[in-house]
Symmetry: C2
Subunit: 233 residues, 2 copies
């Protein structure tokens, strides 16, 4: 069944935005009385019936709601965007599919990309959420310089930096404990600067490795998130 996105259902916005309305009424030719599904990106999948199939503002009445289970842990990825923006797009798509709470883009000294089209990534995330019938949309947070990032962490926070250093560190899988509020920091293609590593250590980030082999930035982001899900299986 067709799935649409309306983040403000709880605030009473029982209509689709112009793009979704056009898709619903023009492309899929939905009519009044037809049933559709809507996700709010906050954890609930709604069933609704179309009231007015207006291609500019399609209105609906909610008939049922299905909250999806919340996890008892949260995953926050801090990542330096890759030079190639396609690689970030697919990472956002895959992370939305497997589930992540937030992706904070960070600018590092050796970052090759200093500008990020967050809107395009947002659209990828919404599309992936609908495709995988998920009701949670990850928060995509605009790029900040790494060392000015202020963690809003609780006592339950577990902070990891994917960095090899001199001694091979523990694998994220063995280093982390279940039910955490995880923050994983993945650096740019040119690696972290020494100053950034020192900053991370000061902030309590623990060095970890992600498997035995060098991974690309975007693969490291996905691998870290997947690993933390399995720590909680």
């Amino acid at each position: 069944m067709a799935i649409f996105y309306q983040p403000n259902i709880r605030q009473g916005e029982h209509f689709l935005d112009s793009e979704e309305s056009r898709h619903c009424a023009r492309v899929l030719r939905k009519r009044p009385g037809d049933t559709i599904q809507i996700v709010d990106g906050l954890g609930t999948l709604f069933t609704a019936v179309i009231r007015d199939a207006n291609p500019k503002k399609c209105t609906f009445d909610i008939t049922d709601e299905h909250p999806q289970p919340r996890l008892d842990y949260s995953i926050h990825l801090l990542i330096a965007p890759t030079k190639n923006s396609d690689r970030m797009e697919w990472m956002v798509e895959k992370l939305t599919e497997i589930g992540i709470d937030a992706i904070q883009f960070v600018q590092c000294t050796h970052s090759e990309r200093t500008v990020l089209k967050l809107e395009r990534l947002q659209r990828k995330a919404i599309s992936a959420m609908k495709q995988s019938e998920r009701a949670f949309l990850p928060k995509l947070l605009p790029m900040v310089p790494l060392t000015s990032w202020k963690p809003m962490t609780t006592d339950n926070a577990q902070k990891y930096i994917a960095h090899l250093g001199e001694e091979p560190p523990a694998d994220l899988f063995t280093a982390s404990q279940a039910q955490g509020e995880y923050y994983v920091l993945v650096g740019p293609e040119g690696d972290f600067s020494q100053q950034e590593i020192d900053w991370a250590m000061d902030q309590g980030f623990q060095p970890v490795r992600l498997g035995h082999f060098r991974l690309r930035t975007e693969t490291a982001g996905l691998s870290a998130c997947h690993t933390l899900h399995l720590v909680n299986v």
Copy 2:
């Protein structure tokens, strides 16, 4: 350092193929006496010195060899290619990075793709292997109809099918045991046919799920492989 690929080093082929020779001599402007690295895709990274920087057939002398550790388990993915070939390309790239032994493409009743450009996928795999400084190249096996696939499995084989069925099955992570010879079957976008599911059950494939949410075909393939690595951490 530049890494090149020559699968037949052990058979005495101490030269690069025409494409690699051109890249070495013309693009990177390597000269006799320069040091390069070469992988054979079979587990060894070689250090070599260029003898003749011929852009059609660059020859070299091996000065050192570094075998990469072999894992005590093997992962074989059986997967129905996606309609969109880009999705298979990135999956092959990512699986090569995180490590997999073989990818067997299978044609299912509900497959939307019946032709596969294996050569292009092969090039993606070689490029990913070099990029991640891996010495192992996964075997990419040409498409066969699923039900005519003959497993060359040993007593140590663990066979799983990513299929939900009526009862939610165990997660692959909890169902599998370490040090196995794993065969994981991932179906097409249109799912398996009942006949294919019956065939898989007859062959001893055990139904598993990959996390809590519906994943795209290519995400399922990557997720399954990553999960099996973590079972062996």
